[in-house]
Symmetry: C2
Subunit: 345 residues, 2 copies
Amino acid sequence: QKLKIGLIPADGIGQEVIPAARAAIEALGSEIPKPEFVDLAAGFELFSASGEALPEETVQALKDCDCALFGAVSSPVNKVAGYSSPIVALRKRLDLYANVRPVISVAANPEDKPDIDLVVVRENTECLYVKQETMSIGEHGKEARATRLITERASHRIGKMAFEIALGRPRKQVTVIHKSNVLSVTDGLFRDTVRAVPRVVGDGRYDSVKIEEQIVDSAVYRLFREPQIYDVMVAPNLYGDIISDAAAALVGSLGLVPSVNAGDNFVMGEPVHGSAPDIAGRGIANPLASIRSAALMLRHLGYAAAADKMDKAVDQVIREGQVLTPDLGGKSKTTEVLDAVLKRL
Amino acid sequence: QKLKIGLIPADGIGQEVIPAARAAIEALGSEIPKPEFVDLAAGFELFSASGEALPEETVQALKDCDCALFGAVSSPVNKVAGYSSPIVALRKRLDLYANVRPVISVAANPEDKPDIDLVVVRENTECLYVKQETMSIGEHGKEARATRLITERASHRIGKMAFEIALGRPRKQVTVIHKSNVLSVTDGLFRDTVRAVPRVVGDGRYDSVKIEEQIVDSAVYRLFREPQIYDVMVAPNLYGDIISDAAAALVGSLGLVPSVNAGDNFVMGEPVHGSAPDIAGRGIANPLASIRSAALMLRHLGYAAAADKMDKAVDQVIREGQVLTPDLGGKSKTTEVLDAVLKRL
Ligand SMILES: CC(C)[C@H](C(=O)O)[C@@H](O)C(=O)O
Ligand SMILES: CC(C)[C@H](C(=O)O)[C@@H](O)C(=O)O
């Protein structure tokens, strides 16, 4: 038996951190079936060279994999005709409807509870990300419109995912993030549908989960003032995008925060950070978010022992504080941080 | 000559902080014409009692005022038929197209530069706030859609406001906030229109202003990591809403952050905080954001000496740290903080 893993480093530091994640997976032992890696292309750099950001072969090859790891995409500074973000497209094509982003601070002492320990569960297929935009000319110049789509179906399944995750955590609390004081129809539907999940599922399974809600602006405010009030935060796509970056600021660096894009049949790990063109190619990108994304992906597939082992190695490296990349105030290279993790695996 | 000021305390702590701002204005001397106050009604509580959140008389009376102060509105926990936010409506009815929110930390020493000193310039009339929402039933249940409108006209005038504000500041820098990597048409139009302001205005007036840009998610991340990179941040409505709350978290409390809703012919001060139902009626609301909003309103009308006087009194109270409300870790009441300000006026 093998574990077939698609690798899509894509742009910028994606090319540096995905190989590190691969090396960490290869260093695992019998906790997982023998991994087999499939190198796949996508990204803005590919688009610039070939006119395609997400080749159809990449999508088809992924359907033959057990899971995948995605690096990061660069965004063109100016609008480029025909270009559309391959990560947004991939999430939709593979119906990876949940973007799960745990944000955890590493306690100084392994026995201590971390100060910040929350999970952002971001809806990954709709909201303004449906990219239905139009441009017209009105009386006073150009007028652009975008459609924000919120469906009951997508809100229910992301809500269910949030309740399911909360069930596995000590605090068992879900906070729905919305702006229904302005968007009473769309965010009202999101809010009501998530709140209704326990009733609709109906088997009492979520009876122990407490449900809270927060308006998005005040949610971001409170995230900075009292992050400990949150356990699982469930949000429509765009709010989830912003909130997960905000939460990342709390734990020291975007270079630490992993995610998985999860659907019912496939899971793709992806560091929350971007392609970081300013540091790309210099060998100083932080590989820890990608290694944690690999762990999260394996955990999602049921390989908890492997995931624990990787997470512990990463935590130890952070805790020791000797071998860190510049984003964490250190002076080490990507490869040195990777070696430190490998030694502790 | 008189200065006619409309007062709309609206809901919750609005009823406590607007009277405080009134008292601070009354304590001013010859820096302003004799103030005359007009009490006006609006809000969710009013809606619950009368079926109207924003009476037409309030709108008409405001047209007869020189300026106004607005408190805060409560949002119903559940959707209430016929209710729509009166503050969103007022901004549109009076065409108060700019929501200007300075976020400044008070330096320990009056001679020192503050650590955080930025202004969020939020577009105030469109984006998802046009509230064009529809609900339909699809194959898999309910489907809700909202329209996000971005026009060249609104983007140009808010951009111009941002450049104008930057011109009056030492650093003279404007950062455009957008998400054009996903919303290439709407946010592309916003970004391009703001960037084009100096060229369109065309008289070289803004030649000294530096223009930067940031994707909204990474803008929030960097706001927390390195707030000093920002001077003037200009954003579409919803991003501006979130960013100003995020920035407020950096200076210690939402209870400190003022704003004005400004149009070409009218200005309305408004604290950035909400109606705070949890503490309403207990006499412990922080009046400083409202007093600062009054100062900002007066500054906008050209009464700089009056505004300086009020701001200095507020800064002194914060710096001394003896008389503060609980949101700032103090134990004082609204009236005690107000008295402390009045003594220093
Ligand atoms: C690159 C961009 C399209 C993407 C998003 O907005 O989803 C990124 O910010 C993320 O969070 O993965
Ligand atoms: C109350 C709400 C409609 C309002 C907004 O979103 O504009 C508030 O959050 C604000 O920032 O003034």
